[in-house]
């Protein structure tokens, strides 16, 4: 989506995303279940470390997402901070002082921690910048699929009858198409871009959430507190939002974190397939795609592939571990 590149749209939606997340956590923190989960999480070393790693990624992605005005339109805060690193003309090995060329090793303008890519851009900076694509895909898609899945799942589980039949029919139909085929077809029709990728992932993603929430809702409506609320004459809508929602919200949080790692991986695979991130947008998937031919070069260019896949791996690993820690914290009986 082109509109993402406009300064104020970008900064405003970033702010909205963060306030939503903060609101969710503050709202959840009122309940005893969330507080005891937090107490358990504080004793979980793996969980805390992975949470810290996620925060670092969030910081980097935020720096790249904040747009500041510059001479040529706008640039990101991260670009502004790293502007002292010069651009070379072609490949340079990590910490090398001369360009990567057997016939003509020219001296470089400066040393580069992780070398440079085919266009002479610093690999380390490019890898950091690509964090933005991953975070935007994860964030935007979550904004689409979580409200949709939670609402439909709760309605199906609460109203039962034809509402349940309809919701189940729709998600069975969507689930019947293998996910990768669905994603590819939607993206082929909508075209490349972070926005269309989020829409495609949102359309396939809500099914799992709706199934999970429907199941939990079916269990919750049998509980006495729902009967009590009904006996007090509360409207269905109020029961759903005031009573059911807080009781399924911890499942949403766990699914959100674990789903985020899947979305980051999906972004890389789709970009690799050539239906994901548009040309000119830094993304780990496109970096990996570009580096495929670099391994057969002489001399070997390995740093682009290594940098992009390590950054991707560490982020997905941290999200997966943190999601597991959250699940253990909320449900200590289930164990690992």
């Amino acid at each position: 989506m082109k509109s993402l590149d406009q300064i104020w749209v970008q900064n405003l939606s970033l702010l909205t995303g963060y306030s939503l997340l903060a609101g969710l956590i503050f709202w959840g923190a009122r309940s005893e279940r969330w507080r005891s989960a937090w107490r358990r999480l504080k004793g979980d070393t793996v969980g805390l470390i992975s949470f810290a790693v996620i925060l670092v990624y969030l910081l980097i992605g935020t720096l790249e997402s904040i747009a500041v005005p510059s001479a040529s339109g706008s640039r990101s805060l991260l670009q502004q901070l790293t502007r002292s690193i010069p651009q070379e003309t072609s490949y340079a090995a990590p910490l090398a002082s001369t360009a990567l060329s057997l016939s003509d090793p020219k001296p470089l303008k400066s040393r580069h921690l992780l070398g440079t890519d085919a266009l002479g851009r610093d690999t380390f900076v490019q890898t950091l910048r690509a964090t933005r694509s991953a975070l935007w895909i994860g964030g935007l898609t979550s904004l689409i699929y979580i409200p949709l899945g939670v609402l439909l799942g709760m309605m199906a589980g609460y109203y039962k009858g034809w509402v349940d039949d309809l919701v189940q029919y729709v998600y069975s139909t969507v689930a019947a198409v293998p996910e990768i085929l669905m994603l590819v077809s939607i993206l082929m029709v909508l075209g490349k871009g972070l926005g269309s990728m989020s829409i495609a992932l949102g359309i396939t993603g809500w099914v799992g959430m709706a199934r999970l929430i429907r199941g939990e809702t079916l269990r919750q409506v049998e509980r006495p507190y729902i009967a009590a609320a009904k006996a007090m004459g509360q409207s269905n809508w109020k029961i759903i939002t005031r009573h059911l929602l807080p009781n399924v919200m911890h499942l949403v949080l766990i699914k959100f974190v674990l789903g985020f790692s899947g979305l980051v991986l999906a972004e890389a695979v789709l970009s690799y397939l050539g239906v994901g991130a548009p040309v000119g947008t830094a993304s780990w998937g496109t970096m990996i795609d570009a580096s495929r031919s670099e391994l057969s070069r002489e001399p070997l260019v390995w740093w682009n592939l290594t940098a992009a896949s390590s950054a991707l791996f560490v982020m997905v690993l941290a999200l997966n571990l943190f999601g597991d820690s959250l699940r253990r914290a909320f449900d200590p009986k289930q164990g690992a």
């Binding site: 793996v46 029919y169 729709v170 069975s172 139909t173 969507v174 689930a175 019947a176 198409v177 293998p178 990768i180 085929l181 669905m182 590819v184 077809s185 939607i186 082929m188 029709v189 909508l190 790692s261 991986l265 890389a268 695979v269 690799y272 397939l273 050539g274 239906v275 990996i288 795609d289 580096s291 495929r292 391994l295 057969s296 592939l305 896949s309 991707l312 791996f313 997905v316 690993l317 997966n320 571990l321 597991d324 690992a336």
Partner: protein, 324 residues
């Protein structure tokens, strides 16, 4: 049982219809046939050639209802497309014009040669490792193993493939890095590396799932009884946990059995295996919308087939379940 399966099949009809509707909306409404023609034929296509392309495929009909006097109302794109899919007529490729039935039929064997061994091997390996973890029951090993599994799950498939292809084929010069031949002993040589990579890339998730299944079985009452009787740990694992765990496991993995036909999108392209995954990969790059549309339809049929297989498997593995 037969009656049950027939009824199940009957319930699949609305879902298949829903999928057909979905693909129609996506490929003919969201993107008009005109736009499809332009993207397939390229920027330089003349209006005449676009018109011809549309006419040859019957894409120039009105979308929903034909209002042209002298033509029947049902002579429309929607009715035609639905009728085509309902009679399993997959149409022809947008790019080469070859009938898709032929294209797909050719890809089934190479795909199965890749995915079937990988599927069997990963289950065998996954079950073995999971049983071993349940057997030793050591906190440190458990933590290390679960960290390792999550780590294996966190690597994208293409990174496995790029590294695998590079290290084994280029540095060690051990296997052919690329290509495929359907003749006797050279076929396994080409398939070995992709099969291994497919197993490794899925191993983390498999071991985690299987371990959870076996652990759940370990908590059952009959295990306590067996232990109280004095049955050794190995015997408990082999006779009770494995046997009962396998029932759950088979019913879980059998749903993915039909998808083996579809092959692997990334692996087949990397290694030049001419299977269905490769057909799809080429279609994405082309772009060839007819191939993608037909794959969506076939993929959903395979999914429903998997559901049916799961039901049958449940009834077969657990005599308490009667399908009525």
């Amino acid at each position: 049982m037969f009656a049950y399966l027939l009824r199940r099949l009957f319930f699949f009809i609305p879902i298949v219809f829903g999928v057909m509707l979905l693909t129609f909306v996506l490929f003919f409404v969201v993107q008009s046939p005109d736009a499809t023609a332009r993207r397939v034929l390229g920027q330089k296509a003349t209006p005449k050639s676009v018109e011809n392309w549309l006419h040859n495929r019957g894409y120039d009909k009105p979308l929903l209802i034909n209002h042209t006097p002298g033509k029947p109302w049902h002579d429309s794109l929607f009715i035609h497309q639905m009728g085509r899919l309902a009679t399993f007529d997959l149409g022809t490729s947008d790019v080469s014009g070859r009938p898709l039935r032929e294209v797909f039929a050719q890809g089934v064997l190479p795909s199965l040669l890749l995915t079937l061994p990988a599927f069997l091997l990963s289950i065998a390996l996954g079950v073995g490792l999971a049983l071993y973890l349940v057997f030793i029951r050591n906190a440190v090993v458990d933590l290390a193993a679960s960290l390792f599994c999550v780590a294996l799950m966190s690597v994208p498939v293409m990174v496995y493939v790029i590294f695998g292809q590079f290290v084994v084929a280029q540095v060690l010069n051990y296997f052919p890095a690329f290509g495929f031949e359907l003749s006797g002993w050279s076929t396994p040589k080409f398939l070995l590396l992709p099969v291994v990579l497919m197993v490794v890339s899925g191993l983390g998730a498999d071991v985690r799932l299987f371990r959870a299944l076996f652990l759940e079985e370990m908590g059952q009452d009959y295990i306590r009884t067996a232990r109280a009787k004095g049955v050794s740990t190995v015997q408990v694992l082999m006779r009770h946990v494995l046997k009962n765990g396998l029932i759950n496991l088979i019913t879980l993995v059998v749903a993915s059995l039909p998808f083996l036909i579809m092959g692997s999108l990334l692996l087949e392209n990397f290694f030049g295996i001419p299977g269905l995954g490769n057909v799809l990969f080429t279609a994405i790059q082309a772009p060839d919308f007819a191939v993608v549309q037909a794959s969506v339809f076939l993929g959903s049929l395979l999914y429903l087939g998997g559901l049916l297989l799961t039901d049958v498997c449940y009834a077969w593995a657990d005599p308490r379940i009667r399908l009525q």
